[in-house]
């Protein structure tokens, strides 16, 4: 079959079709290329540039842990029985002999004690799940703080938010499947959560559990959700996420030669393939080692679910911790209306908080765009200090999340640090509101200080540690001028001014709506841009160079070609 290419490009397609013996390309790739335009794709794809930065690999950790979850999950389904039918345990683990339990729990014990490698795979699966959500979270934080969600990547941000929320559902469903004491306690909590939904709560509860808690169907149903529905959705969303990533090309951090109109990095083939492929094996290896060395979810110690039993340390996995915390610290609000009961003490922290988090995350790129009026495409990342308000908002959000999260372990905090459980709860009730405000203020000040430091460095260079005595007896420290590369990084950012209050269309072509909304928007815009430290202008730098030794590096006139490059990338920004 494989023959050297004989058909010249000029041969019309119809002729090539009529001569099937004349294979145009050799090898498997050639065989395939005859049927799908692989070469056309490979030509571009093989040398695609991938910028190098450790934080760009966080999303890869999420992808790889998802693949590990699929692999280990398939193994587990071979033995797991998603049934709530009661059996009397007679397996290897003697400490539960004769105890009635569901088939789901009994089969989990079988995987843990009777199937060689079963316990290891269970532990890998659980650790990978923890890492899946953790890496999605840090990946999202990286994207947020560097402004990678800006145009044209808003849709991918939304897909990411969807992936994170699906990840929580998937994790929780998996946590519930073994039907041990902790997962049953978790389901009991879900029962209460669903029941608290106003108007439809009881109906939703009866529908989900097939009647009263615990019913006989919730585990088979969650099994379907866990191994079919949500993984399917996750796969679809991940595909879209990656397709958009490839289409948009990766963002890069500011640096010499890095522009909004290009992407600089290692080629896909071979360097990135080796690195990304190698990293998959590293993530897999680390997860296996975690499964080997650290025990996780020892269900045999918890025992089968029994509605009359509970254990100290009844917590969900870490990613549901913020909801758990909110439920713990909420005051006991319940109101009554026309013979009905509204359980705010569960609905608000449970359904409400999760809704608020994911709505807030989803809307943020659009809110920021509205506030700044920025409609340009961005491919060079922001240094977080250069967007102090966003950075501060992000840290405030993280702080708020962290406070809720800590509240979810208030009993563990109390015992481990020897403080009162009630005091922890009371402090947290205040902290979830106050700590984010403090975090916002501190972060913003910190960002502005860093901006000031950058300005200083550009104007006066870095400290050399050498003291110089001047002829008139004074001492000064000699400063070493910055390399042009560093000076460029410190000054390349765009400093948009706040929107001006006006009605109609302004000079930038930003459409304005009614006056009232415009007023709010202007105020928000001013708040957003407030306090920025003006980056040094070319004149400032030249000026500083004349009375210091700092400007050597930046005074050299750059070649014309470089400047025009800078100009072209400037177009994307200045609107």
């Amino acid at each position: 079959m494989a023959r050297p290419a004989q058909v010249s490009p000029e041969v019309p397609a119809a002729q090539a079709l009529s001569a099937p013996a004349a294979a145009p390309a050799a090898g498997v790739g050639g065989w395939f290329d005859d049927r799908a335009p692989v070469s056309g794709f490979a030509k571009k794809a093989l040398r695609k540039a991938f910028p190098d930065h450790w934080s760009f690999l966080l999303g890869e950790v999420a992808l790889y842990s998802f693949i590990i979850l699929l692999l280990t999950g398939v193994f587990l389904t071979v033995w797991f029985k998603p049934s709530m039918a009661e059996v009397e345990y007679a397996g290897t683990y003697q400490l539960l002999h004769g105890v009635p339990m569901s088939e789901a729990f009994a089969s989990t014990l079988a995987i843990s004690f009777d199937i060689r490698g079963g316990l290891l795979v269970r532990q890998i699966h659980h650790w990978a799940a923890m890492l899946f959500v953790a890496s999605m979270t840090v990946h999202m934080l990286r994207v947020f703080f560097t402004g990678a969600f800006r145009k044209p990547r808003e849709v991918n941000w939304l897909i990411g938010v969807g992936l994170l929320s699906m990840g929580l559902v998937e994790g929780f469903a998996g946590y519930s499947l073994p039907d041990d004491l902790l997962s049953g306690t978790g389901l009991r909590f879900v029962d209460g959560l669903v029941r608290s939904i106003p108007i439809i709560g009881t109906w939703a509860e009866f529908f989900i559990f097939n009647g009263e808690f615990p019913g006989d169907l919730v585990i088979p149903r969650l099994y379907m959700v866990h191994i079919l529905l949500v993984p399917g959705l996750l796969l679809g969303l991940i595909s879209a996420h990656m397709a958009l990533l490839v289409y948009h090309k990766h963002t890069h951090f500011p640096g010499p030669g890095r522009k909004d109109t290009n992407v600089v990095g290692g080629p896909l083939f071979p360097v990135y393939v080796a690195k990304a492929g190698g990293f998959f094996f590293i993530v897999f290896g680390v997860t296996i080692l975690m499964g080997a060395l650290m025990q996780i979810n020892p269900v045999w110690l918890f025992g089968p679910y029994n509605p009359a039993q509970v254990t100290a340390g009844s917590q969900p996995d870490w990613y549901m911790g913020f909801v758990e915390g909110a439920i713990r610290i909420i005051p006991n609000w319940e109101t009554h209306l026309l013979g009905t009961t509204w359980s705010w003490n569960i609905f608000l922290p449970g359904v409400g908080l999760m809704g608020l988090l994911f709505t807030g995350l989803g809307l943020y790129p659009f809110i920021e765009q509205w506030i700044t009026g920025d409609t340009a495409e961005h491919h060079v990342l922001d240094r977080p200090r250069n967007v102090p308000t966003r950075t501060a908002l992000g840290v405030a959000g993280m702080t708020c999340y962290a406070m809720f999260w800590l509240s979810g372990g208030n009993d563990i905090l109390a015992t481990q640090f020897g403080v009162s459980l009630n005091d922890v709860t009371q402090v947290m009730r205040v902290a979830v509101f106050v700590a984010p405000v403090i975090a916002f203020i501190v972060t913003k000040r910190l960002c502005l200080s860093l901006q000031r430091k950058d300005r200083e460095r550009v104007l006066h260079g870095s400290e050399s540690g050498i003291l110089v005595r001047t002829p008139d007896g004074g001492y000064t420290e000699a400063h070493v001028p910055l390399e042009q590369e560093e000076a460029f990084i410190l000054t390349q950012h765009h400093q948009p001014a706040a929107l001006e209050p006006s009605v109609g269309t302004d000079a930038r072509g930003v459409r304005r709506r009614g006056k009232r909304v415009g007023g709010l928007r202007v105020r928000l815009s001013q708040w957003y841009a407030d306090g920025a430290i003006a980056k040094p202008t070319a004149a400032d730098i030249a000026d500083a160079g004349h009375h210091g030794e700092a400007a050597d590096a930046v005074e050299t006139t750059p070649p014309a070609g470089e400047l025009s490059g800078a100009a072209s990338s400037g177009k994307g920004e200045g609107h």
């Binding site: 540039a49 009661e86 004690f113 060689r116 490698g117 316990l119 290891l120 890998i124 044209p152 009991r188 909590f189 029962d191 209460g192 959560l193 939904i197 108007i199 709560g201 009881t202 989900i208 097939n210 009647g211 009263e212 615990p214 019913g215 006989d216 090309k249 010499p256 992407v263 600089v264 290692g266 080796a274 690195k275 190698g278 094996f281 290896g285 296996i288 080692l289 080997a292 060395l293 509970v310 100290a312 758990e324 439920i327 319940e334 009554h336 009961t341 509204w342 003490n345 495409e377 208030n410 709860t425 000076a487 460029f488 000054t491 202008t537 470089e562 400047l563 800078a566 990338s569 920004e573």
Partner: protein, 347 residues
């Protein structure tokens, strides 16, 4: 030019030239890196074989002691060999990529993410042509009909799920969430061993995790559902140290009181009882109830006091229930007004 200086006060020096690595210029360093990559990969089959050996040779219940702790040998050794094997493949590939593969960066040009204006115009034109062909311009009802038809199809699709569970109508609620298997004369027994409780044998400061004796007759789902509502805690306190409201004077036996074990917040079973403060703490969300004061909430997110079970003794002196709970146990639900449940200040 002026604008460029404003935007970029320091001009872009351009992509820097690559500095060669040791492995590029030093033949010995290059050979070393090569040997390291091959060496790492050579360990992989060794570990893979070790994995297989562990799988078959180590008994699944084997144990070993390390630093005074006892470990399961099978999963730990299996994971160590397998994990290291997989890890080394990755480490070797990365080492190869970092030290041996050429590390010249490539610069790829970007294009605006959106479609070009011409493409957009052409697409709009194509759309327009298509719309014209539909004939919807003159025969508008087809459009409404399609939209309405698709819309109404959602209804049968949703109706298909109406049998997800029984409908919690008022009648069904009365038989399910508003009822437990407690009834007049049902004996209170210790959980697990089903030992009946003689009132005289209980001491002040004692806690009993109890169940109704008729729970024994149930199994499977019915057992779990009954247990999820009927679980009980029986405590004995010094009658002088507690407050018993008038309406509940005959609900206890000499300071022996029985409460639902199911938290009124989200339904966790609660039994963390402090015999000196009489406080009962839920380990899930830390709602705290005062069992010396009709189960009122003293702390935490629970809104309703813990339902108390009226009890008495039978002819043999064993504790029995006088009736079912007077209010539903567990979390509140929408259809029932819980505002008349026992609360602070009630008598």
């Amino acid at each position: 030019m002026k604008q460029d200086l404003e935007r970029y006060p320091v001009p872009d020096p351009g992509v820097p030239h690559e500095v060669e690595r040791f492995t590029d210029v030093d033949e010995a360093a290059g050979r070393r890196a090569y040997a390291q990559v091959v060496g790492l990969l050579a360990l992989v089959p060794v570990l893979a074989i070790a994995f297989v050996v562990v799988y078959f040779a180590v008994p699944i219940d084997a144990q070993f002691v390390l630093f005074g702790a006892l470990f399961k040998a099978h999963p730990v050794l299996l994971g160590l060999t397998g994990g290291l094997a997989v890890l080394l493949v990755g480490v070797a590939a990365i080492h190869w990529a970092r030290t041996i593969m050429g590390d010249e960066e490539v610069v790829e040009e970007r294009h605006p993410a959106g479609s070009a204006p011409e493409a957009r115009a052409a697409a709009a034109e194509a759309w327009k042509v298509g719309v014209a062909q539909t004939g919807l311009g003159r025969r508008k009802l087809i459009g409404s009909g399609i939209a309405g038809g698709l819309g109404i199809l959602v209804v049968p699709a949703l109706v298909l799920f109406a049998d997800l569970g029984p409908w919690p109508t008022a009648a069904l609620r009365k038989e399910t969430v508003e009822k437990t298997i407690w009834a007049e004369g049902v004996r209170i027994v210790n959980d697990v061993n089903f030992k009946p409780l003689r009132a005289a044998d209980l001491e002040v400061g004692q806690l009993v995790n109890a169940q109704p004796i008729n729970l024994q007759e149930l199994e499977g789902v019915a057992l779990q559902q009954a247990k999820a509502k009927a679980s009980l805690i029986v405590v004995r306190m010094d009658p002088a140290s507690i407050r018993v409201p008038e309406s509940r004077q005959d609900w206890h036996v000499n300071g022996i009181l029985a409460y639902s074990k199911i938290c009124t917040h989200v339904g966790c079973p609660i039994s963390l009882w402090e015999q000196q403060t009489h406080h009962l703490l839920c380990p899930c969300h830390q709602s705290t109830f005062d069992l010396g004061n009709s189960g009122l909430v003293v702390f935490g997110p629970a809104a309703r006091s813990l339902p108390q079970l009226p009890i008495t003794t039978d002819a043999e002196g064993f504790l029995i229930a006088r009736s079912d709970f007077t209010v539903p146990v567990g979390p509140s639900f929408f259809e029932r007004d819980s505002s008349r449940d026992f609360k602070e200040g009630d008598r």
